[in-house]
Symmetry: C2
Subunit: 214 residues, 2 copies
DNA sequence: ATTTTCTTGTGAATTTTTTCTCAAATAAAC
DNA sequence: GTTTATTTGAGAAAAAATTCACAAGAAAAT
């Protein structure tokens, strides 16, 4: 289905945006959409959307556009979202708890099945449905709970240690919220979510426009 | 100082990574670093770093490298981080509270000075030092507190409404955590933080490698 | 039936970004 | 003091991503 060609990371990120907008349209009862209309809603160029989709196949009808329900199904399929992924959170502090309590994730295809922390005072505590488990038991629990994705929400200086546990548990995908680079074997994918990076982007732009006005 | 040339967004994002790594090095007591060493730590190409820095000026010494403290100072300066930005959070739920309680932000140059929500049961409640204020009072409070950046952490279907309040309050920069596109006037910068996009990136890669192994 | 109007999918052109290469600058070694 | 080691900064080259342009397919209008 997917061409052998390397698909740019930005394409995957845009795909997630298209999906979000398409699901909104579907909820509003829309049936069909053209690339130019979708492009406007997503803030991109229409051929960008067509090129992005072309990495995965042909989904439109010439002269008509895209059938929204079908396109949602196709995108979900090639992004691997026609499957529920089991996730674990490592580091149950402010952010870890917020993610655990977040209602939106299961709907998007991600289920949090394990909550891990190294603080003995937290172990055994319940957060929602889940009981906080000692990080040392990650390996054993990863098998049992079939954990496929790990989310790191420890302090930055503990991120590498958390990553080591995760790798040892045989988990091959990590989202790291801690502002620290981690090193893992080649076959483990890491994606960084750095909140301050986004604030810095705004800071840079504000500082620049301020400068201009002087 | 900054050349008139358009600076790519990815450059700013990488800049934030360089800064993070440089601050770690500084804390470890390092004085000087070469672009190739820094590149290795950041997982990029050395000339990438030199090109990125060249957008802003000349900071290195040939045959030597970069003086870490000086480079941190320069990067902070041109990213606008030699100033503390006043921020407001709009939507004090799970995520809003996590950000409010997060200790790392002030150190990075961002201070949360206002917490806003529209839920009458939450208004007046204290979260840390701050009292939750009604979103309707955002305009008045934005002036008083000199709010420069707004962080949206409302449910997605409320993001546009929150954005309208923010724009009306004269705030020119928004980080939107809600998975919904918002429309704002041209002079307002919006940056989206979409957590599920990162999970989707992992999903795509896992689905692909799984497929390969079969 | 034929023409007109849309809109996709894709090769070509363009633009942007990344990487390569090397002269110039600096420090250390001899 | 001269040679050798490094390492930056920047122009050139290469690679990648985006946008353009249009043939081809589909529906609506005449
Ligand atoms: N809270 C936010 O809004 C926010 C925003 C952006 C980034 N972050 C980052 O996310 C991370 C977590 O932030 P937080 O505010 O939740 O911090 P926190 O201190 O509240 O929570 C950290 C948790 O990690 C646990 N922990 C420490 N070492 C561990 C280990 N080796 N294994 C498992 N658990 C471990 C601690 O016991 C604690 O419960 C930090 O790196 C922070 O910089 C947080
Ligand atoms: N919790 C997470 O870990 C997480 C992760 C990723 C994305 N998000 C996104 O962040 C947003 C917040 O998530 P949450 O879990 O904190 O939700 P939540 O429901 O706990 O909190 C939302 C808050 O926004 C307030 N609100 C609603 N409309 C408002 C308005 N017009 N003005 C001001 N406040 C308003 C509500 O009263 C509530 O307090 C959601 O869009 C969610 O999809 C959350």
């Amino acid at each position: 289905m997917i061409k052998k060609e390397k698909i740019p990371k930005v394409t995957i990120h845009r795909m997630a945006v298209y999906l979000q907008v398409l699901e909104d349209l579907d909820r509003e009862g829309e049936d069909v959409i053209s690339s130019s209309k979708l492009a406007e809603l997503c803030g991109v160029n229409p051929s960008q959307i067509r090129k992005d989709l072309a990495y995965f196949g042909e989904f439109g009808v010439r002269g008509v556009g895209y059938f929204i329900k079908d396109l949602i199904g196709s995108i979900k399929h090639f992004l691997g979202l026609d499957h529920v992924w089991n996730c674990a959170i490592v580091g149950i502090g402010n952010l870890g708890r917020a993610i655990l309590r977040h209602k939106g994730l299961p709907y998007k295809g991600f289920r949090i099945v394990g909550a891990f922390d190294c603080d003995p005072f937290k172990i055994g505590e319940k957060v929602g449905e889940l009981e906080i488990i000692c990080t040392r038991r990650l390996k054993e629990k990863a098998k049992e709970l079939k954990i496929e994705i790990a989310i790191i929400t420890t302090p930055p200086e503990r991120a590498q240690r958390a990553a080591n546990h995760i790798v040892e548990a045989g988990i091959k995908a990590i989202v790291n919220f801690a502002p620290a680079r981690i090193s893992v074997p080649e076959d483990v994918i890491v994606d960084y979510v750095d909140f301050s990076t986004h604030l810095i982007y705004l800071s840079f732009n504000l500082a620049r426009t301020k400068g201009k006005n002087i």
